[in-house]
Symmetry: C2
Subunit: 145 residues, 2 copies
């Protein structure tokens, strides 16, 4: 899992290699990023507090869209860790921060839909999924409903 520069938003689009290696053109916004690079990237809030890490990217098989970026949050040495599913649009890469910024206070994030490692949560469940997207005020990923 890489924690080097990775972009996911409109802020601070930077330059990084594509697969296998592309030209390092810092003058041009680079639209694409490897899912491998996104995973493991740190997540902060606007106050610069470290909130967690992007653990997983959940893709919609039919449309090929990212349905959720799952962030791990809290816990200590793997115990008590929570997972926060986030809409892709909630992640904004910040070059200075060296990670993603989510525009939420720590309290707002603690109140967000989340689950622990021992909980059965089905991200395919549109009721749950809509709750997540509503919380982050984003249009739901599943346009079929």
């Amino acid at each position: 899992m890489s924690t080097t520069m990775a972009d996911a938003g409109l802020v601070g689009l930077g330059s990084e290699a594509t697969t296998p290696t592309g030209p390092q053109d810092t003058g041009e916004a680079r639209r694409l990023i490897s899912a491998d690079k996104v995973e493991g990237t740190a997540v902060y809030n606007k106050a610069g507090e470290r909130l967690g890490t992007v653990e997983d990217i959940m893709l919609d098989k039919i449309s090929g869209k990212v349905a959720f970026a799952v962030m791990s949050f809290g816990g200590f040495l793997g115990i008590g860790e929570k997972y926060h599913p986030l809409p892709w649009s909630a992640l904004h890469y910040d070059i200075q921060q060296g990670g993603y910024v989510v525009d939420m206070t720590r309290e707002q994030l603690e109140g967000a839909p989340s689950y622990g490692t021992d909980e059965n949560v089905d991200l395919n469940d549109d009721v749950y999924g809509r709750r997540v997207y509503d919380y982050y005020k984003a249009p739901y990923w599943n346009a079929g409903i």
Copy 2:
């Protein structure tokens, strides 16, 4: 990299766990799949010939869509390996095959846009990207152009 069952198409949508673990409901089509599961999945053609392996998922930062699934093809012990960028829609999971099926002969795949590990190919280049999508007769991922 997991080679267990992973879905990316309309064929044989199977059941697999979400993150961390979801209900194993084989009666219901499960729309979502972890990018980690997609990577490392074998790719075959309709004749059942092994073509390669999905190496990487390239995401569009702005829309959160998969722009390319990059498949490694050919080579021996890592030498002479080629990368084939594929549209997401070209991948169809086949439960019996235990991997993705791309509807191409080996010859068609050999003639497809590809690059070696020492070549500089920029997947952000829309000219190159359109060439890939045209080859697979798929609508280009970048709707802005």
